[in-house]
């Protein structure tokens, strides 16, 4: 029933870069690519977040992904095609090292958030401390490989990047959709509601939580690689640590983490907001843009706790059918 609509939407997205977008065409494309890349990351976060696994450390996976491919390219010239699996592997390994004891010892709620926050900080500080080869807090620039180089995944033409980002984003949505339709989801929802009860009816709690965490970390690392390939400049303050982790979570909560497109819609809104503020204030009034951003964030959390998209959808659904109650597990 919905299929024709979805196909039409996809076709529109695919030809979007070739539409007559006016004089600001390049800028609009740039923002669209950013939305897709961060949409992937937000979707990855919501894989865990919707089950009450609130991570404040996704910056760590993002940073590990981005720095792995960039460093291997810069030092040894190994193509990101070959090193992306490595980057994903590294993020998954990191998630395993942190996640297994976390779930084994039942670190949940605020404590889980703080442990992941510590992980994000550890990665950020390690990047800064190893400044001899990571560039430290000054950042790292991806070595230029020409205007069109498929081997290095470097293209001057933004349209190509747009299509790549779109493809990866669709893969991310597909992963989300698969999880949504699977037994994993039922199991994780049960675990989110009451871990002890879930364990008592034979759900392997640790394994399910671990699986979704590894999946989320891996997908986030892919987002990190894309970010690095597109922007060609990495900075530990932007890619790891508490700031970026909070922004990911905010986008997802704004859009709603219980729907397929929620994280992407939230990402689009936050990017639109911050880009608008950046353009509006420019270089004068340094700090004003982020001040308003923070203020809007607080107001939205207080007045729209279910998120913008989630709230609207709830409203529409409530008319059609009794709304499904989505309850986030408490701490």
């Amino acid at each position: 029933m919905k299929r024709p609509l979805a196909i039409l939407g996809l076709a529109l997205l695919a030809v979007f870069p070739w539409l007559p977008l006016g004089p600001a065409r390049l800028y609009i494309l740039h923002v669209a690519i950013l939305i897709l890349i961060w949409g992937i990351v937000g979707t990855a976060w919501s894989l865990m977040g919707r089950f009450g696994l609130v991570s404040l450390g996704h910056g760590a996976f993002l940073g590990v992904g981005a720095y792995t491919t960039t460093l291997l390219w810069n030092f040894w010239g190994i193509s990101p095609w070959l090193t992306t699996p490595l980057a994903v592997g590294a993020a998954v390994l990191l998630a395993l090292v942190l996640g297994y004891p976390c779930f084994r010892f039942r670190v949940v709620g605020h404590y889980f958030a703080l442990v992941t926050l510590a992980l994000g900080e550890v990665i950020r500080l390690l990047i800064i401390a190893e400044r001899d080869w990571t560039g430290g807090s000054l950042g790292l620039t991806l070595k230029d490989a020409g205007a069109f180089n498929p081997w290095a995944i470097q293209f001057a033409d933004k349209r190509i990047f747009y299509l790549i980002a779109l493809g990866v984003w669709l893969v991310g949505l597909w992963v989300w959709w698969r999880v949504d339709r699977s037994m994993t989801r039922s199991a994780l929802e049960a675990i989110g509601e009451d871990e002890t009860a879930a364990a008592s009816i034979g759900i392997p709690v640790t394994r399910f939580k671990l699986r979704i965490t590894l999946l989320s970390a891996g997908l986030t690392a892919v987002g990190g690689v894309l970010y690095a390939q597109y922007l060609t400049y990495l900075n530990p303050g932007v890619l790891a640590g508490i700031g970026v982790s909070l922004q990911i979570v905010f986008a997802v909560v704004l859009g709603g983490m219980y729907t397929l497109l929620g994280p992407t819609v939230g990402t689009a809104l936050t990017i639109a907001l911050s880009e608008y503020l950046r353009v509006a204030f420019g270089v004068k009034l340094l700090g004003m843009a982020d001040t308003i951003y923070g203020l809007v964030l607080i107001l939205i959390i207080i007045f729209l706790p279910a998120g913008l998209y989630g709230g609207l959808k709830e409203l529409v659904l409530r008319r059609a059918a009794p709304a499904r109650v989505v309850r986030a597990p408490s701490g």
């Binding site: 977040g49 609130v54 404040l56 942190l98 004891p101 976390c102 010892f105 039942r106 670190v107 709620g109 605020h110 404590y111 958030a113 703080l114 442990v115 926050l117 510590a118 992980l119 900080e121 550890v122 500080l125 390690l126 800064i128 401390a129 640590g241 508490i242 700031g243 909070l246 979570v249 905010f250 909560v253 009034l285 340094l286 700090g287 004003m288 843009a289 982020d290 001040t291 951003y293 923070g294 203020l295 809007v296 964030l297 607080i298 959390i301 207080i302 706790p305 986030a328 597990p329 408490s330 701490g331």
Partner: protein, 287 residues
């Protein structure tokens, strides 16, 4: 590495631990009573530092008076944070609560950047340096340590000797029982937030005599404070002090041996491992 330098770093670690303990106690109270982590807690400390800085440099207030004003100001800020941000979302999911105070972090950091730019500002006090057994100890740090100890003693007396203090401790031990016992939840939350603010303000006044202040001051101390707060165990004042001393020693001595960043990495890894092994805090009681 000369042993004397390490000894000096160890003593500096203890002195820093005093101020960190103050912060950890304030946050610990809020976390224990209201069950919300104020991600922006150290941003309040930063505002306290700026308050002292401007009162002393621009308005030529004497330092002790400026410090008192900073404590009063941040106490009010603590109350405002609770009334304006925390109170409306008390029953929201934890992720929303984290985000609201996270938004406050962005807001305060950027607003400070907007008002005062990113310059590092320091009071440049001409306080003496003491020489003890060949080690150089800053008088400012000793002073900060002594004041922290006094403040902690005051907090301890308040929590154990007054009705309100007892109510606060009771809530942090058993939230559900509070209403049954007839304690006024709103008042308890408000007083706790005020105390949290006062601790942040005092810590700010004690930190500005040792460090320079800038809008991103919280980036280093913020996460560290959450870690110490949890490491010490909720509602455990003694634990908070021990955890502060442990972490500040790791950072101070580790910073001398390797680099500041590496020392922080070690401290955070210790935190992560400690949560796995003893989630109730290093000195906490097992349930």
């Amino acid at each position: 590495m000369e042993p004397i330098l390490i000894a000096e770093a160890a003593i500096n670690g203890i002195l820093l631990g005093g101020v960190l303990a103050l912060l950890a106690l304030g946050l610990n109270l809020i976390f224990g009573v209201v069950d919300i982590i104020w991600i922006a807690y150290v941003e309040l400390v930063m505002l306290g530092m700026y308050a002292v800085y401007w009162l002393v440099t621009a308005y030529a207030w004497p330092l002790p008076l400026a410090a008192l004003a900073a404590v009063a100001l941040v106490t009010v800020l603590g109350l405002l944070v609770h009334l304006l941000i925390i109170a409306p979302i008390l029953s929201s999911p934890p992720v929303n609560q984290l985000l609201a105070t996270g938004g406050l972090l962005f807001f305060l950091q950027s607003f400070a950047t907007f008002l005062w730019a990113t310059d590092h500002r320091s009071l440049r006090l001409a306080l003496p340096i003491l020489e003890v057994f060949g080690m150089f100890l800053s008088f400012a740090r000793l002073l900060a340590f002594a004041v922290s100890l006094l403040a902690m003693l005051g907090l301890y007396l308040f929590l154990t000797r007054t009705y309100m203090g007892t109510a606060i401790r009771a809530v942090s031990q058993d939230r559900e029982a509070m209403a049954l016992m007839g304690a006024d939840a709103r008042k308890v939350y408000l007083v706790t937030s005020g105390i949290g603010g006062a601790m942040a303000g005092l810590a700010g006044a004690l930190l500005i005599i040792q460090y320079s202040v800038h809008p991103h001051f919280g980036a280093a101390f913020g996460p560290l404070t959450f870690m110490i707060c949890v490491l010490g165990g909720l509602g455990n004042m003694f634990g908070a002090v021990v955890a502060s001393l442990l972490m500040s020693e790791v950072i101070s001595v580790g910073g001398i041996i390797t680099s500041t960043e590496m020392a922080y990495v070690v401290a955070f890894v210790i935190f992560i491992v400690a949560i796995f092994v003893r989630p109730e805090g290093i000195l906490g009681k097992r349930e």
